[in-house]
Amino acid sequence: MSRGRIEGFIKGILDGLEAVYSEVKPARLKVTVKPEDMAEAARRLLSSGFDHLHSVVATDFPRDHRIEVSYIVGSVEGKLADEVVFLTTSVPRDSPELDTLSGIWPAAGLHEREQWEMLGVVFRGNDDLRPLFLEDWRDIPPLRKDYVLKRWVDEERERHGLKVERA
């Protein structure tokens, strides 16, 4: 489907919801809705064929005081199989909370768990928010922009006595 047709198609599905449409290269559609509309939009996308959740991505934008959360969905059905749609919303950075969509796309549970760990976005209703990759992590979530990677590297080096002499 071309960019114009998929935009028309999605607009038809999300009729009545407040949505902003933008583009992710190459010609993928990104739909930004309000946080409270996420569940409704997701339900409509699922029932019109977007049955395969590809991923959940959260991105920190400290300058705008928001964290953007995108659900990337595709479809294994014939007609929509070449499409990828981004269902996006923004949550405030100091209290990032969002309702889980794992009831709609069961695959979302694991992806939400990762984004919770990496960016601290709390997905209300997801009962599986346990540490996934990081064990005993006490710092701020590492993929936030104010997390300084260099400091961690230096601390770890020192902890292991690994100040390697450079020529």
Binding site: V24, K25, P26, R28, K30, D51, H52, L53, H54, S55, V57, T59, D60, S70, I72, V76, A81, D82, V84, F86, W105, P106, A107, G109, L110, E114, M118, P131, L132, F133, L134, E135, P142, L143, Y147, L149
Partner: protein, 384 residues
């Protein structure tokens, strides 16, 4: 998490107890791949619950991407997926080219060379899968065969790229080196040789009555579950869903080569093996076609991007490809700087992790290794 002290300084994690059942921690030392732990609860010798515990080989690739430019990101991104390093490079390069706005400048020859290396890697990775699956089945003949036959293509890849495993061959704008002399002939010979070998693999693993008894009907994944849980790649297709990105959303020049997407209905461990054997055959077909096209093709292989042009415009790009283990995708956000603002890597193994609890339920303890490995879960790739 609670711990008790074994000897001074050594702590052991206490697993939650469930009444009447035994909780077993398998790993984190893993005999076939990177480190990974599986916590299973068993009743008698039947698994009632399985909980994957990844993270032992987490490297923070996404954070690392934010501090390096689009070329410097190439080598470290290959490390999590060494068996399929072209598989992870492909979507990264496609997304990076989108965001650097040089997509139209990539020469045709480079596109074919990319397909060639990606298919090499698919075969290499599937052979590794067969080797480890065979040793988990106690079938050490196939372990040795597939480890040896892998070498044939790895040598060819080394001839083309200069490295055996981590190729660093794809760059924004094309590929790094041209076809060396004698490469086309040797590749065609290798395809013929491997084709003749595939029949024997089929005999050893699929028609073999002992393998049938071990694997048929064990660890069944239904198509509906597979879609809902977000399974990708051969595991999804072994359950009867024909979903291959190369076919449904062709990238590079995959729409100019002919191949067919094998699927199986059963969704059991055996069909996950059969599908990989079939895919090796299909990949060999693609390699043959591509190599014939490359023979005598002239022209550049790379559009050279000068340092200053490596600065991307603000924007977002997304690319997905079919790597050996399934759909691999990159989502890159740029704010106009020299380095990406945010990179999200989605690996097939991470997506397939969701399948482990479902597949292992009601499986006997003795079958846990073969069912677990049959989804080709690669811990390093999942952790990133």
């Amino acid at each position: 998490m609670s711990y008790y002290q074994l000897v001074p300084g050594v702590y052991v994690e206490e697993l939650p107890e469930k009444e009447g059942k035994i909780t077993v921690s398998i790993g984190p030392q893993h005999p076939g791949s990177g480190h990974f732990r599986l916590i299973i609860t068993i009743d008698g010798d039947v698994v009632v619950d399985a909980d994957p515990d990844p993270g032992y080989v987490h490297r923070g690739e996404e954070k690392m991407c934010e501090t390096r430019d689009y070329i410097q990101n190439i080598p470290h991104l290959e490390r999590p997926v060494v068996l399929d390093s072209a598989g992870i490079q492909f979507p990264y390069i496609l997304a990076a080219e989108e965001i650097l706005d040089i997509k139209d400048k990539v020469p045709e020859k480079a596109k074919y060379l990319r397909i060639l290396l990606a298919e090499f890697n698919r075969v290499i990775s599937h052979f590794y899968f067969l080797a480890i699956q065979a040793i988990f089945l106690g079938h050490s003949t196939v372990l040795e065969w597939s480890m040896a036959d892998r070498e044939v293509l790895m040598d060819l890849a080394a001839m083309l790229t200069g490295a055996r495993v981590t190729f660093a061959y794809f760059v924004p704008g094309g590929v790094r080196s041209d076809v060396p002399s004698g490469f086309v002939d040797q590749t065609l010979k290798a395809v013929g040789y491997l084709r003749s070998r595939m029949k024997e693999y089929w005999r050893m693993l699929v028609d073999n009555p002992f393998m049938k008894m071990r694997m048929e009907g064990v660890g069944v994944l239904k198509a509906k579950d597979a879609i809902e849980l977000g399974a990708v790649g051969p595991n999804l297709r072994a359950s009867g869903v024909e979903y291959d990105i190369r076919k449904v959303d062709p990238y590079s020049l995959y729409d100019t080569v002919e191949f067919h997407v094998p699927t199986y209905k059963e969704g059991d461990t055996m069909s996950r093996i059969k599908i990989r054997l079939d895919e090796i055959n299909e990949s060999l077909g693609i390699i043959e076609q591509v190599v014939r096209k490359l023979d005598g093709m002239r022209g550049p292989v790379r559009h050279l991007v000068k340092g200053a042009a490596l600065r991307a415009k603000p924007g977002e790009a997304y690319a997905r490809t079919e790597a050996a283990r399934g759909m691999m995708s990159f989502y890159i956000i740029s704010d106009g700087g020299r380095t990406p603002y945010r990179v999200k890597v989605d690996t097939p193994s991470f997506r397939n992790m969701k399948l482990i609890p479902v597949l292992l339920k009601d499986v006997r303890v003795a079958d846990v290794p073969i069912v677990f490995w049959s989804i080709d879960y690669w811990p390093v790739e999942a952790d990133r």
